[in-house]
Symmetry: C2
Subunit: 182 residues, 2 copies
Amino acid sequence: MREAISDLGYALLGLLRQNPCSGYELRKIFVATAMMSYSDSPGAIYPALRRLEQQGLIRGRIEEGPGLRRRQMFRLTAKGTAELKRWIKRPVTREEVVHCGREVMLRFALSEAAAGPSASVKILESLEAELASYLPSLRQQLNEQKPMLPRSGRLALESGIQGYECLLEWAKYALTTYCGKE
Amino acid sequence: MREAISDLGYALLGLLRQNPCSGYELRKIFVATAMMSYSDSPGAIYPALRRLEQQGLIRGRIEEGPGLRRRQMFRLTAKGTAELKRWIKRPVTREEVVHCGREVMLRFALSEAAAGPSASVKILESLEAELASYLPSLRQQLNEQKPMLPRSGRLALESGIQGYECLLEWAKYALTTYCGKE
DNA sequence: CGCCCCATGTAAGACGTTACATGATTGA
DNA sequence: TCAATCATGTAACGTCTTACATGGGGCG
């Protein structure tokens, strides 16, 4: 297998396919839209871009000029486009499905036995609060970006929102099982 | 902050709190129950155990004897129990919430624009198939282990199942939006 | 002039992955 | 006895994290 590409690498390819960006602009996307959990750190993005360039999947062109900040715009090559398609077309595997939300659930699963029911309740309450404050911002993102998104992009966002709504329902239900018999 | 502990580390602490295990037994748990997405590879587990031991959170005792395979049983120390509790009691943060199921959704979000609607449909179909075959095994796990699990463990499993059911519903709904106008 | 933001990078360290290596014991 | 399984590791490699470093440009 030739050099594997990380999730971050594919996220970068996907963003660059839409429109050419500099590394800094890509960072801002990861920070702002929070669309992803990908690292916005320069120590992750710049090396990743260089790797993609060395593999011939993207090409960077330095833009310079008077009264212009030096920066490097990256765009996909034909090879990069092909690799992105190849990756997209892979069938979904069990392992991919399993890799969902880990840490919080692990904490909760262990909480009652290791720290008592009150710890479980606290986790559920803070989870509920976090979701309640996060969901509206996601819905707002959906409404704002809906016109610009391709159908699959919109659906993916909706999937995230529904997943969180589902989790919120579960948290409320789980809380009721702790009521009255702490 | 003293040496940070990885997710895998906390998973190991959680399992060892329930009952002392050897490294090999821990590996088997990760392989078999698929309870987690944690690595079952010796290259991950044994170094992680040694790190925990060096931090004084667990202690290993080698069991040997005639007609007995040499193996090392690990158990939590008081310090390890305390650290596990401390971690469990941390409030849930936004970042923790966001870190859910990444790769498949990224693929799907990019699919329509980068590879056409038929690629989107194929992802949805294989996701649906994978979920349809995975969910029953999860439900079976829940039924089998229900008696032995603490309440929070059972609820965590239920949360996973409900999340996948939710995702399956979404996949079906998403598929309908692609019907008739490929 | 000084400060903050743009924009890019590097270095040290930790962790996980993959692959390989080692022996002992059970069971056919 | 021969293979499979038990049980534990090691080595190379790549990636991410954290933190620091560097410069130019806009702005008060």
